[in-house]
Amino acid sequence: MIPAALAIARVKFVLELRRREVIFAMLLFIAATIVIVHFALSGDTGAGSRAAAGMLWAAVVFTAVLGLLRTFAAEQEEGALDALLLAPIDRAAIWIGAALAQFGFLVVVEVVAVPVWWVLFFQAGGPSIGTVVVALLLANVGIALVGTLAAALALGARTRDVLLPVLVLPLVIPIVLAGVTATYGAFGEEVGGFRPLGFLALYDLVFAALAWGTSEHLLGD
């Protein structure tokens, strides 16, 4: 199953390298979101503020949803999904492969966006960057897991693009809560970011288990 999942993830990366339709859009989107949140909270997101730290999480979650809209899109448009479903591989492999690709896209976007966010808002006196990076990595796993799961559920829906954000956002509220808490906990001298990091790991495990258990029902027959 692992080789199949890796192969599916690789296909998605190759496609992305050739077509460049998701990651660039995500990058522009996260930049615009950060600017919008900054102006929306005008005054509260000055350099070094906690609101500036929290807004990264809002931006990441919305950007992830944008990326998720294209999961399975290529397969569906080119009719490859039926072939994948007929292939003698575990259903879970399709979902894990898509989640891996989604995780990778998020990491690429964050590698660019987080330094920019840091330079724009902190320079000095921000949260410890190590904690933020670990929290983001754990959160990416969770977002990719539940996001791909929701994308698979919404696959046959008439209003798929409208539906997906509505399905994903309530599911990732706990991730945002824990991510923001970890970020706040890592400000300056304060310590105590470990419990939210542990929570993020727990979230990943719980939803990985739930998704695994239900994966044979996910993509339809």
Binding site: V146, P174, L177, A178, V180
Partner: protein, 232 residues
Amino acid sequence: MRSLGRLSTTIPLVLSTILIPLTVALAFWWTPEDFDQGLSQKIFYFHVPIALTSYVAFAFGAFSAAMYLWKRTEVWDLRSYVGVHSGTIWGTLVLLTGPIWAKASWGVWWNWGDRQINVFLILFLYYCAYFMLRFSLDEGERRRSASAVFALLGVGLIPLSFLAVRIAQTLIHPVVFTSDGAAMPNSFLLTFVVGFAGMLSLMVLLISTEMRGKRTAARVLQLQRVARGEDA
């Protein structure tokens, strides 16, 4: 089977007709007025039982979803839908009665520091999305399994939300309202239990009535098809 179906509506009908007015009577004429909150505390006998009952309905929906994925019989899909449906209706009541109580006792309509109501809000948003998912899929096997998987995931979301809200509270702002603290007098507790039993029987009544309605509708459709000679 048919008599059992009738009993499943008659018993809760009788129980809720007795218990809910009884709760009103006990709450207003028997329990003493709360020393701290005064008259506004009476909403406790309605708000909290409604909230607990809607959790029960969501749990029933999730349990039925798991049963559907296991047994693959349509009736479990219907039960799961009806459970989530009733839970959401009652959830709306929770989100309406909660702010009334909050305004009366804390002076604000909404308190972001309160754990229960925030978790409930997340859960409510989540299960509202269930209907969007369900009704944008065409009727059939695909819709039934997708709805079941989604209903089931809520079981993971509830404890995780509780945990996340608690962790966030300890770090971001101090916990202002801890759990009840003072023990309830017996009259409070008894009224609360009567209220909870009343709400539960009303919920059972609603669920079994909706189930009967759905089954009748399905049967009518089937008979119409037979009458048109489409299939037997």
